[in-house]
């Protein structure tokens, strides 16, 4: 059987050439450990302090966790993003630092990949649009190149 020898990945057979990416140096949370944080986020949201709720969600997200844990976290974030009115979005963005905005854009991208997020597609696109307008393409570039992904 003639194999297409030009398309063989020679590097896969070379023990010297296996690329090991750098290890991710972030703590791994369990779902139980995240529960109180998610409760707090929901609590702040129901009390009307949407900005604080979002800030809490942005602070140390579970980058190193299992996809199922990440999904639960993202659904919590989705609740917050859905509950902030369109007119208030600009105000919220102005109050976040550049680092926080980077994480916010990561949330938006990861949520767009989830089915639940796609149902609120309009809201997510609104967040994305207004943020990039205010801040530039920096967060998008950083989302693409950051090894820490949600």
């Amino acid at each position: 059987m003639e194999q297409d020898w030009r398309r063989i990945d020679v590097d896969a057979y070379d023990p010297d050439q296996q690329y090991q990416p750098d290890p991710i140096d972030v703590p791994v949370y369990t779902l139980q450990a995240l529960e109180p944080k998610l409760q707090q986020i929901r609590g702040l949201l129901s009390r009307g302090s949407a900005l604080d709720s979002l800030r809490l969600a942005i602070d140390s997200p579970p980058y190193a966790d299992e996809p199922s844990v990440k999904k639960q976290y993202l659904l919590g974030v989705l609740e917050v993003l859905n509950n902030i009115k369109q007119t208030e979005i600009n105000g919220v963005i102005k109050q976040l630092t550049l680092d926080e905005i980077d994480v916010l854009i990561k949330f938006v991208y990861s949520l767009m990949a989830l089915k639940e997020g796609q149902k609120s597609g309009g809201v997510l696109l609104g967040w994305f649009d207004k943020t990039i307008e205010a801040v530039g393409e920096g967060p998008v570039v950083r989302y693409l190149s950051d090894p820490l992904k949600l």
Binding site: Q17, Y19, Q20, P21, D22, L98, D99, D102, V135, G136, E137, G138, V141, R142, L144, S145, D146, P147
Partner: protein
């Protein structure tokens, strides 16, 4: 700020360019060749030489103080071009022994050696061996994990900074016994046999360009995540004292240059 001077020299992409010492001529890459233009008259650049020798796209070139040109290409070779009395250039092949394209080449400040960065996860440091009358390459391999995109020499002709797509900025010693004298100790390290790793900083995204500052005390690097980083070495072995990052709101920078030491 004065208006930039524009030279329209090529319809093809220019991968790299270098001005001669006296800034009267400039060499640009053009697909598989290198073209040298006299730009003394800014309105009318004149083509004075074409260097053909590579089989694939020339990715980088550099000119040293003696006027020797080194070019490297995707054909995994480097050529050193010496100017002859009649104005033409004679190439000498350098066996780099790399199995992937070369990405960047830089002469050391004294023009005795040059380093070639490649996609083969190797930096080839090349020097001229008089007894055999050819250029020899020595490889820096560990711990490079991916393509090296940029190089910068320290003024002592021994230390070499490299930026790579594995997200790391590293400073190596490229000391070659046949060509170099032992350098005095610097903030980067003291005992420096070939391939010593003097600094390794993980910037987490592809490093496009790295440069020593004009006083050679720290490094600056630009990466794919759109930031500019400043890396300060510490007193200990391979110690990094601090990394300052300036995040940017535009698309990533590809090169950087120190304009003055102010």
């Amino acid at each position: 700020m004065s208006a930039p001077i524009e030279f329209n020299l090529s319809k093809e992409p220019i991968y790299d360019h270098c001005f001669s010492q006296d800034k009267q001529t400039v060499a640009i890459t053009k697909e598989n060749t290198v073209e040298i233009y006299n730009v003394a008259s800014r309105a009318q650049p004149k083509l004075i030489a074409t260097l053909s020798g590579h089989d694939k796209t020339v990715t980088a070139l550099d000119i040293n103080a003696k006027g020797q040109i080194v070019t490297c290409s995707q054909d995994r070779n480097a050529l050193v071009w010496d100017k002859q009395h009649d104005g033409t250039y004679k190439p000498t092949l350098v066996l780099l022994r790399i199995n992937r394209a070369a990405t960047s080449v830089k002469w050391s400040p004294n023009g005795e050696k040059f380093a070639v960065a490649s996609s083969a996860r190797v930096i080839a440091v090349c020097y001229f061996e008089d007894e055999n009358d050819w250029w020899i390459s020595k490889h820096i391999k560990k711990p490079l994990k991916s393509t090296i995109l940029s190089l910068d020499w320290h003024e002592n002709n021994v230390l070499l900074a490299a930026g790579s797509t594995d997200g790391h900025v590293r400073v190596f010693s490229a000391y070659v016994k046949a060509v170099d004298k032992k350098p005095p100790p610097t903030v980067w390290g003291e005992r420096l046999p070939f391939q010593t790793l003097c600094l390794d900083s993980n910037l987490r995204s592809w490093v496009y360009d790295v440069k020593f500052d004009p006083s050679y005390q720290f490094l600056a690097a630009v990466t794919q995540d759109g930031s500019i980083h400043f890396i300060y070495p510490g007193p200990g072995d391979q110690e990094v004292e601090g990394v300052f990052t300036v995040k940017n709101s535009t698309l990533p920078f590809k090169t950087l240059l120190f304009v003055n030491s102010g």
